[in-house]
């Protein structure tokens, strides 16, 4: 078998063995519906309550401030639309580099009579808190800025934005899907009213995520039905998934700090190795204020999907900044918003490291990428250079 190296942890992660072990009994043995009052239901509820406690403790929140959802996308939708519909109309502030879950929820609100300001970012992918302040209007009802961008890893100055939000008594929603369990989050110091976070980015299962809702935040549910999750999210809970999520958070609480240091070193090894061997490369995003395990590297005038394919054939999983979907290649909107030139943006490849990444994996990637880029550049029309 060919060697396999997974460097796409920002896309998804393998479920941690301890997490799988904790989930297993909740399929066949503890299977009740947590809304049921009998013993079968109570056992399921207890598992779920324990997970909620774990997540709350990790965030320094109280258990009834945690809403479990089906994914980061749902958490973002719930936060943004839940704030909006609780108020009926008004103005939102967000940035141009948010995840599609945020951007398209905002665009939806625009079709429903709300207004949205999309803030620019600088060439490192940073939102200027001053821009946030200037965008605030008397009818601003919410600010939603992500903690770290999944493509380039740049970490936003949330505390500064939170202070502004608090000053104007506007709830701040933070999409922390890429930072939760990877870098510290202080809800109070950062002035966060709502926080989206997800399981499958931190070695928990897919299909489960959470939304922190600060006590007293006025919001409504967007998925209508039963009285689950204190009426903030209807539908029978994904008990096994929630139990696994709780365990994943517990494991992260234990491992997070050490792993951040280790991954940052490996990430630097990767970048140093590539730039030593491949000409015309560039690191996208903030050089220091970024996710420890993320390196977004542009190969000028090479189409990133070709690099991804070349590495894929070597057993390496990375992701392309540009994506050719339904017959049209778009450079990443994040890189475009950062003002990265097209010749660079089209060649952006994201490497995101994780638990299993070892130093020799990094070396294997460095060795593998060099001839691929060379070959691709060999077939390149001169005019494109």
């Amino acid at each position: 078998m060919t060697r396999r190296v997974y460097l796409d942890h920002n896309a998804s992660t393998p479920v941690h063995p301890e997490v799988v072990a904790d989930m297993l009994p909740y399929f066949g043995e503890i299977f009740g519906n947590p809304s049921s009052v009998h013993a079968f239901g109570r056992e399921a509820r207890e598992g779920m309550d324990r997970a909620r406690e774990r997540v709350a403790r990790f965030l320094g929140a109280s258990a009834d401030e945690i809403v479990f959802t089906s994914g980061g996308t749902e958490s973002d939708n719930l936060a943004i639309k839940g704030l909006a519909y609780a108020r009926g109309r008004g103005h939102f502030i967000t940035s141009r580099i948010e995840h599609h879950a945020v951007l398209r929820a905002c665009q939806w609100l625009e079709t429903q009579g709300f207004e949205v300001t999309y803030l620019p970012v600088d060439e490192l992918g940073m939102v200027d808190p001053g821009d946030v302040k200037r965008a605030i209007r008397p009818d601003t009802i919410g600010i939603t800025i992500m903690h770290a961008n999944s493509e380039v890893g740049t970490i936003q100055p949330i505390a500064a934005i939170g202070a502004i939000a608090r000053e104007h008594a506007i709830p701040l929603h933070v999409d922390a899907v890429q930072t939760f369990g990877k870098v510290p989050i202080d809800l109070d110091a950062m002035g966060i009213a709502l926080l989206s976070f997800s399981g499958h980015k931190i070695y928990g299962p897919k299909g489960v995520a959470g939304l922190y809702v600060r006590k007293g935040t006025k919001m409504v549910t967007i998925q209508h039905g039963g009285e689950h999750e204190r009426r903030r999210r209807a539908g029978t809970e994904n008990v096994a998934g929630i139990v696994g999520f709780g365990k994943a958070v517990e494991v992260r609480a234990r491992d997070m700090a050490g792993e951040a240091v280790r991954l940052a070193a490996l990430r630097d090894r990767l970048w140093d190795g590539i730039r030593a061997r491949v000409p015309d490369v560039k690191l996208n995003g903030h050089p220091t204020d970024r996710l420890p395990g993320t390196a977004n590297i542009s190969y000028r005038n090479v189409e990133s999907e070709s690099v991804v394919l070349g590495l894929d054939l070597k057993g390496i999983g990375v992701s392309a900044g540009s994506a050719c979907t339904s017959g049209s290649v778009e450079p990443s909107y994040v890189l475009v918003a950062m003002g990265v030139a097209l010749g660079w943006a089209m060649g952006a490849v994201r490497h995101s490291l994780g638990r299993s990444t070892a130093a020799d994996d990094i070396d294997y990637v460095i060795e593998s990428v060099e001839p691929i880029v060379k070959k691709l550049r060999g077939a390149l029309p001169v005019g494109a250079r």
């Binding site: 070709s306 054939l313 017959g327 049209s328 060999g378 077939a379 029309p381």
Partner: protein
């Protein structure tokens, strides 16, 4: 794998990639949606393709299709190449996924243009 072994082989080991110094005809096409680009350089002898070089920019299938097509048309009559169909290019890489059909298309169009340029520009019987 969503790509055929033939496609992968051409992607990993492109045949006839690079520039040609003194071609009889050059044809170039860019996919409007995708931005993928293929450029072919042809040399002909007695109305038949005697040598090919290509340059391509794009996703893996475009590079592979250009490579496969360059082999396909070598030794073929220029007149035939002006009628080259995308489906034939696609067959040469053993098929393409629906969302990558454009690769065969851009390559076929570039080759037809290159063949036309050869015929138009070349002296009779050249």
């Amino acid at each position: 794998m969503r790509y055929s072994p033939t496609l992968i082989d051409h992607f990993l080991n492109p045949r006839n990639a690079g520039l040609m110094r003194d071609p009889d005809g050059v044809g170039e096409e860019q996919d409007a949606g995708c931005g993928d680009l293929a450029r072919f350089f042809l040399k002909s002898a007695r109305g038949v393709v005697s040598d090919v070089r290509f340059q391509a920019y794009g996703c893996g299938p475009t590079i592979a299709a250009a490579s496969a097509a360059s082999e396909l048309i070598t030794g073929r009559a220029l007149g035939d190449v002006t009628h080259l169909e995308a489906t034939e290019v696609e067959r040469a890489v053993d098929g393409l996924p629906e969302d990558r059909k454009h690769a065969a298309d851009v390559v076929a169009r570039a080759l037809r243009a290159a063949a036309r340029a050869c015929l138009g520009g070349a002296p009779e019987g050249g």
